[in-house]
Amino acid sequence: MKINPELLKFPKTLPNDLETFMVFYPAKFPGIVSYYEEIAPKIAGDPVAFQEYGQWAHDELFAGFEKIKKDYEAGDQDNLSFLVSIDQRLHKLFCYRFWVVNYLFPDGPIHDFFVDTLKNMIRKIVDVGEEVEEFESKIVKIQRDLLQSDYADLYLRQALSGVNLVSILEQLPRTKMFFDNATTLIDKRSPENKDKINAIWDQLVRLVESDHSDEITALREQLAIPLEQAQMRKSMLPVYNMLTHAVEFRIENKALAQRHGEMKQRIDELMGQAKQKLSPEEYNLFEVAYLQSRNFSMFKDIMGSIDPYLLPMWFGLLRKVASILAETVSMRPGMTIGPSTMFWYLAWYLPTDLKAKVITPDTTPFSVESA
């Protein structure tokens, strides 16, 4: 499949660049531009190649992170020079192995091309009925289904696990009372009941933590994601919220589970319809546009799974740098805590040699071995 070469060039802007990586990554790591422009023609139009690349980048990201984390934990965390070097290593890893898959492809011009292609092609495969407005409404629904795809991301997985959670809570005699009491309060839809609801969940969580029977283990498994978040955030509120969500949206979640279960069939039907209506070239383009849109969404989620490990360490490191600097220099308040903090804020307070290290371009190629 041929894609306009202009679309394969390094993106100039990204729509969700909160950290403004687009400004400083190409400046700090100039090699990223040629790296992207070299791989884009190879994988942008090939869904299988993109998946393989995405998976490879994911594995490299985790391997690289493990390596840096190990060094960080073993090193002198009171040493400014050491902390800055770890930050710079994290950035290089993040830029080459996360940013490409998570931002440059799924938010750049290639993404626009595929989404627009899908939207345009859908118009060709939908039959025009008597009512023009009905036609438009069909198009919007198909567009929504194709862009959603049959992949369940973290948001949807949490909602779907709510169905299992409610089923277990309802069935186990030891948890049924908690479930019944919480349901009564939650169904009143009154914000004032929040503390009472959380108190019920607190008792349940105590049971989950202390009981290792098979049935409670099954319950714990359904709460795996929020329990991990709770550990990270040192608060049980993520678990309470997950339980409240499972009960409050128990009917909607069942419908979501059904819709998700039927999604693969729905997509297959749409692709079959497209095959009949489009020329072979058009169908090929349509299929690639769907698969790549799905890949882009899916890998955002897959790569995002590093966040609970990466961000606490990185943010903690930046706090340490800020705190060390604050002992010797007068700093402006209002520091942001995001990965880009070193470039946009802390760098200006660093000793000259470290500041030079941060703002000087790093032209060496990236590899996990040298990460």
Binding site: N16, L18, D107, E133, Q143, Q148, Y155, P238, F249, E252
Partner: protein
């Protein structure tokens, strides 16, 4: 000099008239409604009427527990144009014949009057009628010994001329909810369509607010309610459902309204008394003085309510749908206290945030819509909005700066715009 002779000729209708009258542009739901109308006309006072419609590949069966027809009424039911129902739904005396003839090539009518052990049966076969039918000798069967405690009418239409695909069936059921909504809502009628009870149509109104009105005019009056709805994907679906004697005449009638309400639309029910309708019951006689008088009064009344909301933001239309609600500015990215931030989101709020985060799931589920500063069609906010079927506009660049917490807004996820409500 001209010589005139007067003689009398036979102008009794040709037999084919019975089949030709059905070719008047009926829709399937309109044909079925004619038969339901007859049941409604025959309902027993202070008793809930149940009408069941069962459709299979071979037949349509409409059954009711109304008061049935007397021998005389049943005998006249097959007569074209005959009706004693002045002021009722079936006043033209055409419904049974036109609708059954539209739907199938033959029908059986079985009716049992109240407190009677007799039932009357009429059989109609189109092919037989066209060949051998006699206007003056129509077979009429009387069965005796039926249960006197039960009354009602059953119409069985066979050798169907129309097909009922699954999609059409659900469309017909929904339309019945609209068509007979007032009767269903008043608990006067239970309509069971293929074993499923039809629910009355209930429009979704902004703030759930209905405003009542009455317009008196010379010879009649129009009354009902109106409210605002947001334009759906079908933009012309606004206006009034008009009713005559509780039975739907027109849907989304723009009487008294301008034809270009594209975001905030007026919708409501309008009951009209004193304006004649067309014989197919599909419309009002718009040329009548009464209609024009009502229309002019309504136009004057609704003019100030047809204001167009002001567009204040645009972005990517990431998830379809339009909603009105309260903007709730949520800091999902840098919140010091996530739980506190999340607990500010009340049911029906529209989240305004730089970008969404998975641990805000509970808040996102409670929200009616999402607006973000950042992101494109495949950003998290867009994906999550599509998954949970919440309208969303993403990548507005400056929503968190422009919108105020608590501001009333309309989010248009179809076009990617945000309006001031």
């Amino acid at each position: 000099m001209k010589k005139t002779t007067k003689k009398y000729i036979d102008i009794s209708p040709h037999r084919s008239i019975l089949t030709k009258i059905s070719q008047t542009g009926y829709s399937i739901q309109e044909a079925l409604s004619e038969l339901i109308d007859n049941a409604i006309d025959a309902r027993i006072p202070n008793q809930k009427l149940t009408v069941s419609i069962d459709i299979t590949e071979d037949a349509v069966v409409i059954n009711d527990n109304a008061r049935g027809m007397t021998e005389d009424q049943a005998a006249k039911a097959i007569r074209l144009g005959f009706s004693e129902k002045q002021g009722q739904l079936g006043e033209f005396g055409l419904g049974l014949k036109t609708s059954t003839s539209f739907l199938g090539r033959g029908f059986t009518l079985i009716t049992t009057p109240q407190d009677s052990d007799e039932e009357y049966v009429l059989e109609y076969d189109e092919d037989h009628w066209l060949e051998h039918g006699d206007w003056k000798k129509y077979p009429f069967i009387i069965n005796r010994g039926v249960d006197p405690d039960k009354s009602g009418t059953t119409v069985i239409i066979r050798r169907l001329k129309v097909k009922f695909p699954e999609k059409l069936l659900s469309k017909v059921r929904d339309e019945f909810g609209l068509r007979f909504g007032p009767f269903i809502q008043n608990q006067e009628l239970e309509l069971v369509f293929n074993n499923e009870v039809c629910s009355p149509f209930t429009p979704v109104l902004i703030d759930n607010k209905q405003n009542e009105f009455t317009f008196e005019f010379d010879g009649g009056r129009g009354w009902g309610w109106w409210g605002y709805q947001l334009a759906g994907l079908n933009k012309s679906y606004y206006g009034f459902h008009t009713y005559r004697r509780g039975r739907l005449v027109t849907t989304y009638d723009k009487i008294g309204l301008t034809p270009n309400q594209d975001i905030k639309q007026i919708i409501g029910d309008l009951h009209i008394e004193g304006i004649p309708i067309t014989h197919d019951k599909k419309g009002w006689l718009k040329s009548s003085r009464e209609y024009q008088e009502l229309e002019s009064r309504m136009r004057e009344y609704f003019k100030p309510f047809e204001k167009k909301p002001k567009r204040i933001l645009s972005g990517f239309p990431a998830s379809a749908g339009r909603v009105a609600g309260t903007a709730r500015l949520v800091n999902m990215f840098m919140a010091a206290d996530m739980e506190k931030e999340m607990s500010r989101i009340q049911s029906g709020d529209i989240i305004v945030t730089a970008m969404t985060r998975p641990h805000f799931l509970l808040g996102i589920r409670r929200a009616r819509g999402i607006i973000t500063d950042l992101g494109g069609n495949l950003c998290h906010a867009a994906i999550v909005a599509r998954e949970f079927n919440i309208p969303a506009v993403v990548g507005t660049q400056n929503a968190t700066a422009l919108l105020q917490d608590g501001q009333k807004i309309i989010l248009d996820g179809n076009e990617g715009y945000v309006y001031e409500d």
